[in-house]
């Protein structure tokens, strides 16, 4: 692993107010974590030429992701991190294709490979612990650099919006005032 070109470690952490990808569909919880930033130590950011809130690329040997950076002094300079599984594919989880989760949120998994590059141990060795086969998520090494000025202010990669499936509720309206006892009628949820 070429740690000169890819000097930084990239991690994800699970937020206390969301559990993996289960809670972007939750109207209350997604107001707390709507989209995710990449948290970077200010000195690391300055060394890579971008400011707080700028659009940047995270690149690993197999892929790259575009997202927004957020300065944080609460992270070790050699590490960048984001919240786990806040970013979603457009249109999934009952959300509108324009929801923050797909337009401003991103998924770090794209840059983490499930297999090691071919090595003497084998052609397709799993990117895991050799003793237990545990996925070595946090071994991923990345480099970060600012996105060009002209690039669209949307995270990448983007996917064709996922369609709603039969049996799913109709698209919810602009307002939702939940009062137990009267909600399902108002939100046109069939039982």
């Amino acid at each position: 692993m070429d740690t000169q070109t890819y000097p930084l470690n990239a991690l994800t952490q699970r937020p206390m107010a969301m559990y993996h990808s289960w809670d972007s569909q939750n109207a209350w919880l997604r107001q707390i974590h709507t989209h995710n930033y990449l948290f970077v130590n200010p000195r690391t950011a300055e060394a890579n030429g971008f400011g707080d809130g700028d659009w940047i690329w995270i690149e690993s040997p197999i892929n790259k992701v575009r997202c927004m950076a957020r300065f944080s002094e609460a992270v070790e300079p050699g590490t960048v991190w984001t919240w786990n599984a806040i970013g979603k594919a457009a249109g999934s989880w009952g959300l509108s294709p324009k929801a923050n989760e797909s337009q401003k949120g991103f998924l770090l998994n794209h840059v983490i490979s499930e297999e090691l590059p071919p090595c003497e141990a084998g052609e397709h060795m799993s990117n895991s612990d050799p003793v237990t086969g545990q996925a070595a998520w946090f071994d991923v090494r990345v480099r970060i650099y600012p996105a060009e000025a002209g690039e669209p202010e949307v995270t990448s990669p983007q996917f064709k919006p996922q369609k709603r499936v039969p049996g799913q509720d109709p698209k919810r309206g602009k307002w939702q005032a939940f009062v137990a006892g009267a909600f399902r009628k108002k939100a046109k949820i069939q039982e």
């Binding site: 569909q25 130590n41 070790e76 009952g94 959300l95 602009k174 307002w175 005032a177």
Partner: protein
């Protein structure tokens, strides 16, 4: 008169947002509901919350401190949001000092939110009235609930018991003791609003290890001392008479 309030212990608050959503859950179907959400499943969802948890960072790496900071209405003893209200919708209860809004009187002029330095009021864009933390007034005065549950929803939910509830005018209440003994402080005291809610500051527990404490007499390494083999060379004993 009693002044009910919350004391929030920043020394143990881990920022899990339990107080945020348990409050929303209770109040949206309760007396002070509904707490309307706007664009709940679209871009930039927003909605009325009576309580929010914020995150702050202090200092530069590696001496960085991270603070989780729950903030809701502080139920001031001299609330600036009450006199300014033209219709009397914003009022402070005599019996327990809780500051409330009467939705039938509120004309939605938002003047009370201008007069609150803490930003503790949120306007319901659909119902067009001002809403705020009611200290779960419909719960704390509900005699059908057992004593242990006649507390605000956020206090019952908080896993680290960082939210203490009680009467700050009663010197022996849990809140008063906590404020006195752990240095409880109000927010923006300069304005003289005398906020009832207080916050307890962070405290560090340090250990002092003295060098001479490290190695005790019964150090296990002594047990491993190998018998010292005698050097092979001549000794006095061999040569002297």
């Amino acid at each position: 008169m009693t002044q009910l309030a919350l004391v929030i212990d920043l020394n143990v608050c881990v920022g899990c947002h339990a107080c945020v959503t348990s409050c929303k859950e209770w109040n949206t179907s309760g007396w002070a509901g509904p707490l309307t959400d706007q664009r709940p499943y679209d871009a930039d969802p927003t909605g009325v919350f009576f309580n929010r948890v914020q995150t702050y960072e202090a200092g530069v790496f590696p001496n960085t401190e991270t603070y989780h900071f729950p903030k809701s209405c502080l139920h001031c003893e001299d609330p600036p949001c009450v006199p300014v209200c033209p219709t009397g919708a914003s009022y402070k209860r005599e019996d327990n000092g809780v500051v409330l809004v009467d939705y039938d009187k509120c004309i939605g002029c938002k003047y009370c939110s201008w007069a609150c330095p803490y930003g503790a009021r949120e306007f319901d864009e659909q119902q067009k009235v001002m809403k705020k933390c009611t200290l779960c007034i419909d719960r704390i005065t509900d005699m059908s609930l057992p004593e242990s549950e006649r507390k605000p929803a956020c206090v019952l939910a908080c896993p680290t018991r960082a939210r203490i509830y009680g009467d700050i005018h009663d010197p022996d209440s849990e809140v008063s003791v906590a404020i006195r003994e752990q240095g409880g402080y109000p927010l923006q005291p300069e304005w003289g609003t005398k906020p009832s809610n207080h916050y307890l500051p962070r405290r560090k527990t340090r250990i002092q290890i003295h060098e001479d404490e490290l190695v005790r007499v019964d150090n296990p390494l002594k047990k491993e001392a190998l018998p010292t083999l005698p050097e092979a060379g001549e000794t006095l004993d061999d040569v002297a008479w």
